[in-house]
Each structure stands twice: as structure tokens, then as C-alpha cells.
Subunit: 315 residues, 3 copies
């Protein structure tokens, strides 16, 4: 089957989604990332792998946090990084997305890191770039956020070693979450035998069972015995909407408290993609507690993005 992320030799050329990403590719990314974790701990946090390459951060949707993680990763690989906030620019002059990409490609870009509010935009770009250019999806609409999915996998592997023995719960607003989608595909590919999804009916999409996950609306029941709890961010705009009665009510039913955490396995880890809404989806005691690996996710995230960039650039 044709996979737009791979080149004709089956190597990673673009990173667009974790869906359909072969297990050997995911594992190669995680193995490569392991070698970059130590780079971040060095005195001189730089390797010359992307020296003289031009990496364009194309953020059609503002996200300082995600843009920063890619910018650090690229700079630690010694790339030249160019940040383009596209809203304020050509798009407002009526230029089409593909004309913008064609132009930037003609400047001999080597890599585009793309954040876009429309699902599929990074695919469209990947189909139109020159053969030597790679596209990394940094979040497209509700569709995918594959580097977040991969850094989550790195974190789980770091703390739990073997995916094939785990029970993992993904909790919260799965309906609007590109992170949840990227996590579920990666967990399945890596052989996690039991993936649970926990949330209110209004925030879970239809058809989750077809992805091979178990759906729970009762949080206490869903958390029982799990090894990994992956909390999702609740978008502020949902809280005032018709989908939810209130933030307080949400916390009462789906907030991760110490009491609820005690229902999981004793050595369960707690994850969150950030930024957190303390007191809405997660209690501060848990967020800052001994089982939280939330800041490790951030640290590993730089290494995973370095791995993805260096692997794509090498093909």
C-alpha cells in the first residue's frame, strides 16, 4: 500500500501521522531519539547533522510552545531555522498555500515543519514539495500531531520498557484531540494489548471501537489497573460550550485526583501533553506528584523531534 510518508525504499521521508506508520520506523525513531537525549545533557548541546540545512517553521496557526520545541531541536542539529508566521503574511495577500510552498521550496528549503488549522494541510504540502524536501506535521486540525504521539511513546518506553504488557488509558476530550488520535495509532502499532478511552459521550467521537480501543464513560471504572494514564487538555472554548456543563462539573467527573490515581496500578505513570488546566482535567497534587512524568515528556520531546528531523533529512 502506498504510504505518502515513505520514500520508494520504504524509508521515512515525511512525518505526517502515526496512522499506518510501520512499527520498525517508530522503533527506529525512538532508538535514534535515545542517542539525542544525551546531547541535551551535554555542555555543548549541538551536533552537526543538519549543518547548512534550512528548516522552515511554517505556523499557519500560532503556537509558541510547539514552535519552540522544533526550533530548539533544529538548532541543536545545527540547522538554520526560519520562523514564518503565515497569517500575518502572504496568505493575507491572497496567495494560495501551494504558491507559498512553491516559493519557499524555490529558496532551497530542506524541511518544512507545518502547523495548520486544517486537517490534511501537511499532506497537501508533502505532495507538492521538491524531492529533497521533508515535511513534518506539527499539528493539523483535529487530525494528527505525530511528534507528540511519538514523544509519548518514547516516554512510555522509557518508564515501562515493554509495550506488549500494558494497559493504557487516554482520558478526556478525545473528540477534538489530534494528540489522542496520534497516541492511539502509535500504541496499537507498538502492540499495546489494551487501550482504553475515557470521557463523556459529548467528547468522544463515534467509531472508537473500530480503532480497537475500549470505551469508558465512568472514569473510576476506566482507570482500574492501568499502567499509563494519558490525560488530554480540555480546550477552554469547550468549557463554555454546549458540550460541557462547566469546568467544575468536568473536574468532578473526569479530573485526575489522587483518589482516582490510586485506582490505577501502583506504579502507573501520569502523562499530559500540556499546557495543563490545573483543577480542570488534573489536580495539582497529581500533576506535580511522584507518578507524573509530564516534564520528562517535554525533555524527551526535543530528542524525538531531533530524531525525526535527522532521519527525514538523511533520506
Amino acid at each position: 500500500m502506498y504510504n505518502p510518508q515513505l520514500n520508494e525504499r520504504g524509508e521515512l521521508k515525511h512525518l505526517l501521522t502515526t496512522e499506518g506508520l510501520p512499527q520498525r520506523i517508530i522503533e527506529n525513531i525512538l532508538d535514534t531519539a535515545a542517542s539525542f537525549v544525551s546531547v541535551g545533557e551535554r555542555d555543548v548541546k549541538k551536533v552537526p547533522l543538519l549543518r547548512g540545512k534550512s528548516v522552515f517553521n511554517l505556523f499557519f496557526e500560532n503556537s509558541t510552545r510547539t514552535r519552540t520545541t522544533f526550533e530548539i531541536a533544529a538548532k541543536r542539529l545545527s540547522a538554520d531555522v526560519l520562523n514564518l508566521n503565515i497569517n500575518a503574511s502572504s496568505t493575507s495577500k491572497g496567495e494560495s498555500l501551494l504558491d507559498t510552498i512553491a516559493n519557499l521550496s524555490a529558496m532551497q528549503a530542506d524541511m518544512f515543519v507545518v502547523r495548520h488549522a486544517s486537517s490534511g494541510a501537511p499532506y497537501l504540502i508533502a505532495q507538492h514539495v521538491a524531492p529533497h524536501v521533508s515535511v513534518i506535521n506539527a499539528g493539523d486540525g483535529r487530525h494528527a500531531h505525530p511528534t507528540q504521539g511519538l514523544l509519548d511513546m518514547y516516554t512510555i518506553r522509557h518508564f515501562k520498557k515493554d509495550f506488549t504488557k500494558l494497559r493504557v488509558a487516554v482520558v478526556g476530550d478525545v473528540l477534538h484531540s489530534r494528540v489522542a488520535r496520534s497516541d492511539i495509532h502509535a500504541l496499537t502499532t507498538l502492540g499495546v494489548p489494551e487501550v482504553r478511552v475515557i470521557g463523556p459521550r459529548t467528547l468522544l467521537p463515534n467509531g472508537l471501537e473500530q480503532l480497537g480501543v475500549h470505551v469508558f464513560h465512568d472514569m473510576d471504572e476506566g482507570l482500574k489497573g492501568v499502567d499509563v494514564i494519558m490525560m488530554l487538555r480540555l480546550q477552554n472554548e469547550r468549557m463554555q460550550g454546549a458540550l460541557l456543563p462547566s469546568a467544575q462539573e468536568y473536574f468532578k467527573n473526569y479530573g485526575l485526583t489522587p483518589e482516582r490515581l490510586a485506582l490505577a496500578a501502583p506504579d502507573a505513570i501520569v502523562m499530559h501533553p500540556g499546557p495543563m488546566n490545573r483543577g480542570v482535567e488534573i489536580d495539582s497534587t497529581v500533576a506535580d506528584g511522584a507518578q507524573s512524568v509530564i516534564l520528562s515528556q517535554v525533555t524527551f520531546g526535543i530528542a524525538v523531534r531531533m530524531a525525526v528531523m535527522s532521519i527525514c533529512a538523511s533520506h
Copy 2:
């Protein structure tokens, strides 16, 4: 005659306009750019010519696209690049342009790349900087956009070799176009025997004939037998104004269609400074067609800017 762009030895110190720029200087820039085109094709797209130099992108008018081309050019020359969006800054605090420049000069800047809505602002700056500092005009009001003019000359030379045998048509909103002005001056200096300007009366300035160009209001007539067609961007704001009936009407009369292109020489090239309004000044078939060299302009633009920066910095 005193030329504010040249130093006392007649060498290029600032690039402010193509008007009055000696032919030998233009040709030196194009020759130097040729050597930088290959840098963009290398694995490591960097040369150390501006290492340890501080290049300030001073954009008093927002333009992500143009700023990006200068930023890439400077980074490929190994300069340290600082992007300053001046609207949001000192100017709003009431500091004068010259105080801003004096301050940045005191930070030991080596080069200012200036985009400003007021014609002449880069001249004013060039008159007040320290002797070791160069100023590159990245577009001032309706006045000049000399690096665009020079990259257009590079593109024409690349595809047509000999300027002294060409018929060139500049088409569209010449009245508001700094690009058109910079192109016409450079074409004349380089010995193009026949420069034509095509556009509606409302979008052509008075006095064009004094520049040595031939004026056409009928596009079909103007395109007959030309070797180079330089399309101009139609600013969106003109389309609703009193100067033009509508975008559709404009396209009917001055849009470059395959039928019109067929009136030019069979090997004529089509140019556009971007961003394009497809279906307004140019048909998509032509923009993406075999005679279009629009993306080559972009690629050569980086090399030309590297050339201008390295030549100015060396004097």
C-alpha cells in the same frame, strides 16, 4: 556625479536603487550571484563570508516573504541575523527613525536591510550610519526595490544571455510599483534596446517616455514579438478603488492568458515578482507553464541577495 550608493573608490557600499547604478556594478553583482547559486545546491548551504557580522532586518512595513529571503541569504553567508519589527517597538514609543538607527548602529551593526513605507527612508538611513555600516533597500514606498530588480536581471541574463538584443514588456500597475521602476532602470542600464510598458492609463505614471520606454495601452499590441514579459502584481486595494472597474475586467484586458502569450516570441519567458493573483493579472496555465520562470526568480533571488550583501560588506 555623487552617488550615495558608492564609496569614494566607486565601490558599492549601500544598495538603495538601480537608478544610476553603474553597469559594471550591476554586472559584478550578477557575476558574484552566479557563484552563490551553486551554494544553494550544496549539501551544506553555507559560506563563511559574513561570519561574526550582525545583519539587522529592519522592517517598518511587514513583509514575511521579503524578510525571509534576506534572512536566508544572510544565514547562508554565516551572519548573525536580527529581525526587528519596528512598528511594534520604539516608533510607537515616539523615538525618531534616526535615533533608532543611531542606537542600532551603536550596537555595532554591520548591515541594515530596510523595508519602509516611505520612499527615501533607506537613503536617510544610509546618510546617518557609521562608515563601516551598509544599508540595503528592501523596498521603500513606491520608489525602489533594487534587489528585486537585480534578481530579475539575473533571471533574464540566465535565460536570454545578451541584454542588447531584447524586447522586454513590463505589464500592469506600473504607477504603484517599486518593482517596475527598479526593473526599468536596470534594463536600460544593461542596454536593452526596447523596453515596453503595458497598462491602463489609470495605472501608468506620467513621464514614462522620458525613461526611454514605449507605452502601450493595448496588451495584444504591446506583447507582439517580445522576448521577456515581466508581469506586475495588482494590489488588492486597487481593485476596489476608482482606478479599476473590477478584477474580472482587468483580467479581460491585461491578464496574461495562453492566447496573449502566443503573441510574444516563441521562446519568450514569463516573470512575476510574486505573490501572484491567479486569474487577475495572470492565468494559472501561464503561471505554471513551460515559459514561466517565476520560481527561478525566487531561487536566483537568494543568490543575488547573498551577492549584494557580501559585496557591500567587503567595502
Copy 3:
């Protein structure tokens, strides 16, 4: 006494304020800066002291000018610099300041340069960063702007050599000025025997005498015989407020004119932190005159920031 700026060996770890900063530390910063002044005059303005370090410019309050000085300083030290405009980012998503800092720290930041509208924000951050991270205060509320204070000391030492024989006048809106506070503390620590403060009652805070300064409301009297005149910027927003009758009235009473300057010592120097309001707090003849060292302050400011950054990073 515990000093949050120093590590357990009494070395500079964070720069938060000049208040309580030991004389030996200030002098070490000025001595180190002296060696960096020459770097700015070199052809290649770079030293590798911070190579592979990640410096984050965290500007919770917009200031292109100050951000630029730190960005240049860091780049001349060969650091990787990341600019974060935090208003537009996580804060708007409801993330707390400390969560933002924890996240960026987890990306293995080495240094935070912090500008914040709230006094004390850099202290809070310094208390929560990892042990290897340094925090530099780039201006917090009305509280402190220590690098400005230190570059002012560098400038005074450069032109006047010996602090222990000087009469220094600080003139203007001391009430709202973090610069004034940082200057007064540094001047006192360095042994300046006579620090005067000149301004209208409405723009001077209570308790100035406790800082060991002499208060003058009459400018002519206050300027008599001083060796250094440190003008302060008058914020535009004060001019329309209840604190001042008008800009003209202010200039009449507290503007530094050539006539008033003549009251000071014949070799007195004139300083201003910029951006200047010409014709409000200072006459253009004085600002551009032979006794003005305002642009030297800017030049020395880069060297002083390089010194602070390299000293903090080395501990």
C-alpha cells in the same frame, strides 16, 4: 544574609537586581565587560563562550530594543537564542507562569532573560528553575533593570574612572523608573559619595532619603557642580495624566538644556537610557552634544550583557 542572586560559593548565578549586589561582583562584571568591548570592534564579532547553550528571551512585556540587545549579546557569545513573546502564547491558554518555566526548563534551557510587567517575576522564576539554569532580569515592573544599571556604571567608570570622587544627579520620573532604582543602588555600592535626585514632587517616591540620596525639586540647584547627569525617560502616558501639567511645562522645569548643563562641572557627562523624548526631558543640542555619552551607553550595554551572561553561565 541570603542573596538569591548568588550561589553557595558567593558567585553570581542570577542577575535580578543591583540592590545588595556585592561590590566585588559589580566590579568583576565591569572588568569582564571591558574585554568584550573589543569583541564588538573585531571583524568577527564572536567568541565561543556560550556555544551550544540555549538562551531563552522570555518577554512577557514587549520591548524590541531591550530584547535585541540581549539577542546580540547572546549570539556574539555563540549561544542558540530563542525569542518567546509570551503574551501571544501559553499565558493566553491559561497556563501559569511557573508551568511555562517548568516546561522551558525541561527543554534544557541554560538561561532565561526575563522582561515582565510585574515586579518580582524574575525572582519567582529564579526560585523555581533547575540548578544549572540562570535568570537575568531584563526589567520587572517598576522594580529593577539591573543590566541597564550596570551598563550605566560601566559608562561612568569609562569616562570618570573613580567612583569615589563623583557627584551624580539622577533627573526626572524616579517614581516609575526601574532604571533609576538600579542606578541608585549601584552608585551607592560603588562608593559614589553624593547621589542627587532631581524631579517634581509628583514624580519622586517617598523614602528616597533613606537610600542615601539628596533630593532636589529645583533643577538648577540640583545640577550645580555634578560630574554625571543621568536623565530618565518620561513615559508618554504620564504626560497626559494628573501627575504632570504638560510636556512643555515639564521641559521648562526639568528639561536638560545647554544653559542648565552649563551649571554642572565643565567635563560633566550626560546619560540617558533611551528611547529619548527630545524636547521633553532633553534638548536635542544636549542629546547630540559633546558631553553626551548616550550612544556609548548602548555600545557598552552589549558588552555588559555579554559579561553578565558569560559569568552567570560559568557558575
